[in-house]
Structures are given as C-alpha cells and as structure tokens.
C-alpha cells in the first residue's frame, strides 16, 4: 500500500510548492469579459483610513493596498483587493473581488500558511457573494463560522469587510 501511495505522489508531480491561485488568474476567472487585468497600488491617508475604519467597524492597520483592476477595453468592469490577515500564528492572503456596484463577487484564497484543514472551503466563502459595505458581516450572526476553524472564519470575515470599506473610500476619493 505504501509503495502505491508513494508512487502516486511522485508520479503525479503535484508535490511542488505553489500558491493556490494567482491574483490575475482569479480576476480573469471572475471577470471573463475583461480584456486586461492590471495592478495598482493605493495609499489611503490618515483621514481616509479613519473613514474606512468607521465603515468597517474594524481596525485597519494597513495604509497601502494592492488592487487588481479588470478592464474591458477602456471600461473598468471590476476590482480585486489583496488583503493579508493573521489566522493563528500564520497568515492567509485572499483576493476580495468586487464589482462596480460595490458588491462582493467572490473571494479567492491566494495563499494559506496554516495547516490545510483550516483552509476555508468554497462553499463557506460563497456566503459573502453580493455583500456590500452596508452589510455588517458579523461572524456567527451574518456569517456562519467554520466548524473547527473559527480563526480562519474570523480572519476572512474581517478582511472582507475591510476590503469592501477600503475600496468604497478609494473609489469615492477618485483613487481608483
């Protein structure tokens, strides 16, 4: 049995190091009409961070954010904000994909450094679809937690609300 398992492991060639999905690939997946995916970095000044924190009802420790922009021709069709949060002792990084109406279109986990059993599954992430800054996104109230992985659920839920708030402020102030 061991021989079969190890042969399977090493012949599949799947034991190489990799991220789960690259941000630009995730953008293409969710904005299939897009002809161009570009990345942009934005800086929110102190007052903007304060405004975003007020909307998010969460502390925001970052000032600089990496945003992916999907365009069809010259027209922007959507955004993806990359956000990293600590889960337990290790980080997870996810792309929060938001359409022009400010609605969450999808969340794609880009990299996850905690043990894999704590990785949020697609079906759990789907709870965030259509969420906007108006949604409180409170864990255990608006968002079901993940059985056995509460810390992952908390990290992604907080980051989703931060991403929606930061993007709303950045767009309002003409930074995107």
């Amino acid at each position: 049995m061991f021989r079969i398992i190890f042969l399977t492991l090493f012949t599949t060639g799947l034991l190489s190091s990799k991220v789960l999905i690259k941000p630009d690939e995730a953008m293409k997946l969710h904005f299939q009409e897009a002809t161009q995916i570009s990345k942009k970095s934005i800086l929110l000044v102190k007052d903007e961070i304060k405004s975003a924190q007020k909307i998010a009802k969460r502390k925001i420790s970052d000032r600089v954010f990496r945003v992916f922009v999907a365009k069809k021709g010259d027209q922007i069709v959507g955004y993806g904000l990359l956000h990293t949060a600590n889960v337990r002792t290790k980080d997870e990084t996810a792309l929060y994909i938001i359409d022009l109406k400010g609605q969450m279109k999808a969340i794609e986990i880009i990299a996850f450094y905690e043990p894999p059993e704590y990785l949020p599954q697609k079906r759990w992430l789907n709870q965030f679809i259509d969420a906007t800054v108006e949604n409180e996104l409170k864990l255990k109230k608006d968002i079901h937690t993940i059985s056995g992985a509460t810390l992952s659920a908390r990290a992604v839920t907080d980051s989703a609300k931060i991403a929606l708030s930061v993007l709303a402020i950045a767009r309002k102030n003409g930074k995107l």
């Binding site: 492991l9 990799k18 600089v64 990299a111 450094y113 894999p116 056995g148 509460t150």
Partner: protein, 426 residues
C-alpha cells in the same frame, strides 16, 4: 515656491510706479516659476507613486513570497525561493487550568485545581504539499514520579495531492467523534468535554496508521487503517478507554479500519458519522476473535447567535466471552452507549451561556466469568446523567474563561460540582 510667487504678485499689486518693461519682466518670471512648480509637483507625484508601488510590492512579497519571481544573488527563481519564503517552522499551542469544587457533602472526591493541559504544536512545512505537524501534550502539570503525563498526541506528515485525495501518515488522531479532532478549549463550551466522548468514544484517541482524506462537493471523507486496540488492557467501565494503545510500542498484529463522513447539508448544518472497528486480540493467548468497535453520529447547527449540537455514540465488543474469560478479576463491558445535546446562545462575541445534557453508560451490558462455576454472569451498571449549565467569556478569540455548574447523577449518586477554567490557544 508658492510663497515667492504670492509675494511677487503682492509687490506688483501694491506698486504704482512700474514701467511696461518692468511689468513684462515680472510676468515672465511668474510664468517661469509656475512652470517649475508644475515640474516639481509632477516629480513629487511620480516619487510618491513609486514609493507606494514599492511598499505595496514589498508587502505582497512578504505576504506571499511565491508570487515574487525574483532572483537572489544571481540564482534562478526556484533556487531563490528559500531566501524569500516564510519560515517553514510553525509553533502553536493551547492549554487550560481548571478548578473543580465538589458541592455534595457526601462526595468522595476532593476539590482540585489542576494545570490540566499545556500543549504545544510544532509543524514544519517541507513544501506547500508535504507538511509535518505534531502535538506534544503535558497533562496535569507534566510527568513527575508517575503523576501527570507527557505524550505525543500526534506526529504525522500530510501529503497534499489534490482536494479529492490526500494522505496523512504517522501518529494520527483517530477521526472518530466531534471532540477528538477538535479538543481545544475554545472549541467546546463547558469546562470539561462531554463524558460520552471520554468513556464511549475514548478521546483523546491517537494511534499509528495511515489515513486518506478529501472532499467531493459538500462531502468530506476520511478512511484508513490504524493499529488496533489491545483487548488485554481494557475492562470494566474502561473496556474501550483503557484498550487504547496510544502509539507507544503499539502492538500491530491486528489493525482497525477507521472511516468518517462529514456532510455539509446547508450553511451552518454539518452532519457527521464515523467508525472505528477491528480485531484487538493482538495475537495474545486467549484473546482470539476479540474485537472492539466504536461508532457515532453527530450534528452541529449554527444559525446566527444560536449553536446546537447533538451526538450519539455506541461501543461494542466482539468475542466478549473470550474477553471475559481473559479478565477473570473483573467484569468486562460488551456494550456501552451515550448521547448529549447542547444549546448555546452568543449574546455578544464575548458572552455565551449554554446548557448541555448527557446520558451515558459504559457498562450497559457486562459479562463476568466465574472461574469456579465456569459460567458467565451478565449484568449492567446504572446510567450517568449530567446537566451542565454555564457561561463562557471570550475577551479575545484565542482566550476563554468558563464557569459551569454540573448537576451530576453518578449512577444514582449525586455528585454535583462547580467548575471554573481558563483556556487559551495561540
């Protein structure tokens, strides 16, 4: 720059004796200054953007080194990876310290304050797909003069192949029940775990073996084999609990099958069933045909602030006559079962009152071999019934303070207790 321009304009405004040439000269100077100002502003903006871009790139590199594709001291991208990768070593842990006050005057048990668990996880990620993880546990203050315990609860390597098929091998947690896989103090409400998951499902339960696991849509599975139980060790109310081998020189003449299915029926509702079954004689004289089986089914439901849980577990022994004949000094249990139901309400993120009721009997059917009459005597013990009423306070997601009162009917004898606990994970 703006100040200079402003003072020039002011000078012009207050001057009443300027000639046409002088005015033209001042106009030219103003135009030149405005042009320089625009150039400086553009340069400033470009510098700011470059800085923002650089900071953003560094942040991304720090968060996800694999996205970088940068070379280090002339090496190729792959060879450079180790220089940019995050530390593959991971350290975590959890612990709890309990105080138990036995309230019934007739209780034979003394009050206790126990440094119950101090646990450390050490993991090492060889690659994203080959990961070692371990749990080293010190119980009751560690091991001094035979008291307390220091145990490796798991030490296994995961080979992550694809979502549908992964392999875990080494010293693994037996994937049976709810608490056995999720036994950190922030994961359950009362100070102590339900006793059904101690005497019927013998948590914490760990053994050497190999598991495969994966997901198909809403269904997660685990199947594998682990070293079987040792029937020579378990008798009485601990027929299953004491038969665990724990991976310390585990006898491996007999193996057991383990299987588990987790079905995510809908948002917030998880349904699970799991089983451990296998021969446990381990080629020891007189224990031919003896086997141990433990199976369970449980449901977890969360809706807003409400949390509900229910679990039923059953343990049986095959070849019970041989087992009874082996343990002539004591009866053995051939059947035990138990269940619990729990409801909790998260008033806020911090405060959660709860109630849990459980009933179990690890000696539902017992068998005693009378060597004088060479006959078997059947029997059974009374049920244990526990109602726990309590309150959890979670000032931080990783820190929990618990208080509960147990209305404890110990096989017909009242043995109520007040429990307090602090727990943490990191």
């Amino acid at each position: 720059m703006k100040k200079i321009a402003l003072s020039l304009i002011t000078s012009v405004a207050i001057s009443t004796t300027l000639t046409a040439d002088e005015l033209s000269d001042i106009k030219a100077q103003l135009e030149s200054l405005t042009k320089k100002m625009h150039i400086l502003e553009a340069k400033n903006e470009a510098s700011n953007n470059a800085l923002i871009e650089e900071v953003s790139a560094l942040k991304t590199l720090n968060a996800v080194p694999e996205l970088a594709n940068r070379s280090y001291t002339g090496l190729g991208y792959a060879a450079s990876k180790v220089f940019y990768s995050k530390s593959p070593l991971s350290i975590g842990g959890y612990g709890k310290v309990d105080y138990i006050h036995y309230t019934d005057e007739k209780s034979k048990t003394k009050d206790e304050a126990d440094n119950y668990r101090a646990i450390f996880y050490i993991g090492y990620k060889f690659t994203d797909n080959i990961i070692f993880n371990s749990e080293i546990e010190f119980e009751h203050g560690g091991s001094i003069g035979g008291e307390g315990e220091a145990i490796v609860e798991f030490a296994a390597i995961d080979f992550l192949i694809r979502p549908e098929f992964n392999v875990r091998t080494g010293h693994v947690l037996v994937p049976v029940g709810h608490i056995n896989l999720q036994h950190e103090p922030t994961m359950f409400h009362a100070v102590n775990r339900p006793e059904t998951e101690k005497y019927i499902i013998p948590s914490t339960w760990h053994e050497n073996g190999i598991l495969t696991y994966g997901s198909f849509g809403n269904l997660d599975y685990t199947v594998g084999i682990v070293a079987g139980m040792d029937a020579a060790k378990g008798k009485g109310a601990k027929t299953w609990r004491s038969a665990r081998q724990g991976g310390r020189d585990s006898k491996a003449e007999d193996f057991a099958f383990v299987g588990r299915l987790d079905y995510h029926a809908m948002d917030g509702l998880d349904l699970t069933t799991s089983i451990f079954t296998g021969d446990s004689g381990q080629s020891q004289k007189g224990l031919n045909g003896v086997s141990h089986t433990v199976w369970e089914a449980h449901a977890l439901y969360e809706n807003g602030p409400i949390e509900l849980a229910a679990l039923y577990a059953k343990a049986t022994v095959g070849g019970e006559r041989n087992l009874a004949k082996y343990h002539t000094d004591n009866s053995i249990s051939s059947e035990g079962s138990g269940y619990y139901v729990k409801a909790a309400y998260n008033i806020t993120d911090e405060w959660a009152p709860f109630i849990r009721y459980e009933k179990y009997n690890a000696e539902e059917e017992t068998l005693k071999y009378n060597s004088q009459t060479q006959s078997y005597e059947k029997g059974s013990a009374k049920d244990t019934k526990i109602t726990a009423l309590g309150l959890n306070y979670t000032p931080h997601p990783n820190v929990i303070l618990k208080a509960d009162y147990l209305f404890y009917d110990n096989k017909g004898v009242d043995d109520d207790r007040l429990e307090l606990s602090m727990g943490y994970i990191f």
